[in-house]
């Protein structure tokens, strides 16, 4: 089961890429765990997660071909 990942803002600096695919992830909690293992700097970083463009706040199931976006806050003006 493949899913699509998109990163924005300073998340891209941490992951080193803005779009990639992952497999074997069943929900957003598992995704966060996996991402933090791959990219330890994410632990200390704030970001919101959107599953298929909807911002989620609680653990959410992930299905095949879903697109998960990681959006950090910006403060620049």
């Amino acid at each position: 089961m493949e899913i699509n990942l998109l990163a924005f803002g300073q998340i891209v600096e941490i992951t080193g890429k803005s779009a990639w695919k992952m497999a074997g992830i069943k929900d957003t909690n598992a995704l966060i765990q996996d991402l933090e293992k791959q990219f330890p700097h994410l632990v200390k970083t704030n970001y919101s997660i959107a599953v298929n463009k909807k911002v989620i706040q609680e653990n959410t199931a992930i299905n095949e071909n879903d697109t998960i976006a990681l959006l950090p806050p910006f403060s620049g003006g």
Binding site: L6, F8, G9, Q10, S18, H41, K44, T45, N46, Y47, S48, A50, K53, K54, V55, Q57, A69, L71, P72, P73, F74, S75, G76, G77
Partner: protein, 370 residues
């Protein structure tokens, strides 16, 4: 004099979605722009050009050389002048038919409600998280639509908070998207990492566009949504925001709670670095030899000539760390105290036993007293 009827707004009145009725709404509208910087400049220009009847401008800052790359209302002669009054002057030269209110001050929880109350809609063009949360909460308490914009590097975010498109009655806000303020590591700003000048130009122009849509009641304002735009990729990506029950816990819910809420603390709660007050700093630097480090970028104002210091911009600090002596007490300052806190964190990681402090309130607070 021009004897023809006033055709200043003819091109937009021609649009059937706007017409004279829409123009009348624009004339009656009152819009407050907080921050006359990269976002505020284009938003101000387009709203003044469109004839928004009353425009308020809030900014406590002065124009610096490093602003001119993106803050397109200003020119070389404006350096050192207050942004709010300078911007107001430029806008008056553009349109004498509108009312401009100038607020040469920093928006705080003590003055926000009485200022915001006078306006129908608020544009956030500020550059720090504490003020963004403050404006968001004020708009929720006063039930005013808030047009949010933020920029970083090659990206921008724009959204409309506290406004429903009447398809639903749901009104979401910044706290539904980011319930917790970012910790120090995420709280980087354009001062630290840069921004392409056209980005705030694009996002500020989009903020003006959303304002005109809401004023005229046309199209689909970005309610309950945030759009992220990346110029390098030429890509837009939408995020739909849902009301978030969990965001309510530490949210001031009324005027009294808002007045009592400490936004600086809320946004710096994760900063675990020692600070030094202005008074302590002045005492100690007169009594003993201390190392003072300015971590602002080159050319930032105000200029400091009252004491000796090392100038190491935060972006250079990590590379330079190993050459620093930690024999003396180190006091780090920046403009407002955010970057210096980050610098002290870096110093402490490298030299856990060093005595390093961040100057509370930054050099601006110091200059206010000295």
């Amino acid at each position: 004099m021009n004897s023809k009827p006033n055709n200043r707004y003819q091109r937009q009145i021609q649009l059937k979605e706007i017409g004279q009725e829409g123009q009348d709404k624009i004339t009656q509208a009152k819009v407050l722009i907080i921050g006359a910087g990269g976002l505020g400049c284009p938003a101000l220009q387009y709203l003044a050009a469109a004839g928004v009847g009353t425009i308020g401008i809030v900014d406590f800052d002065v124009v610096e050389l490093s602003n001119l790359q993106r803050q397109i209302l200003y020119n070389l002669d404006d350096i050192g002048k207050p942004k709010a009054t300078t911007a107001a002057g430029k806008i008056k030269a553009l349109n004498l038919e509108i009312q401009i209110e100038t607020y040469n001050l920093q928006i705080t929880n003590k003055n926000a409600l009485e200022i915001l109350e006078n306006y129908d809609l608020i544009i956030d063009g500020t550059d720090n998280f504490a003020t963004r949360y403050l404006i968001n909460d004020a708009c929720v308490i006063l039930d005013k639509p808030l047009i949010y914009g933020a920029v970083l590097r090659f990206e921008g975010q724009i959204g409309v908070f506290n406004y429903s498109n009447f398809e639903t009655n749901i009104k979401t806000n910044y706290r539904d998207l980011f319930p917790k303020p970012p910790n120090l590591d995420s709280a980087i700003s354009c001062n630290d990492v840069g921004v392409l000048g056209v980005i705030p130009g694009i996002i500020g122009t989009m903020q003006a566009t959303e304002a005109l849509k809401i004023i005229c009641g046309i199209g689909k304002p970005l309610a309950n949504k945030i759009v992220s735009y990346n110029v390098l990729e030429n890509s837009f990506y939408d995020f739909e925001i849902a009301a978030n029950e969990n965001s309510n816990s530490d949210f001031p819910k009324n005027k009294a709670e808002f007045l009592a809420f400490n936004y600086e603390w809320f946004c710096n709660a994760n900063l675990d670095v020692e600070t030094i007050s202005i008074e302590e700093f002045d005492t100690i630097r007169k009594q003993e030899t201390i190392t003072i480090i300015d971590v602002r970028e080159i050319g930032e104002l105000p200029v400091v000539d009252e004491f000796a210091f090392l100038h190491i911009p935060l972006s250079e600090l990590e590379k330079t760390l190993s050459t620093l002596s930690t024999e003396n007490i180190i006091v780090v300052y920046c403009k407002s105290g955010q970057r210096s806190a980050k610098a002290v964190q870096l110093l402490k990681e490298k030299f856990p036993n060093s005595q390093s402090f961040s100057l509370k309130g930054g050099i601006e607070a110091w200059k206010n007293i000295n």
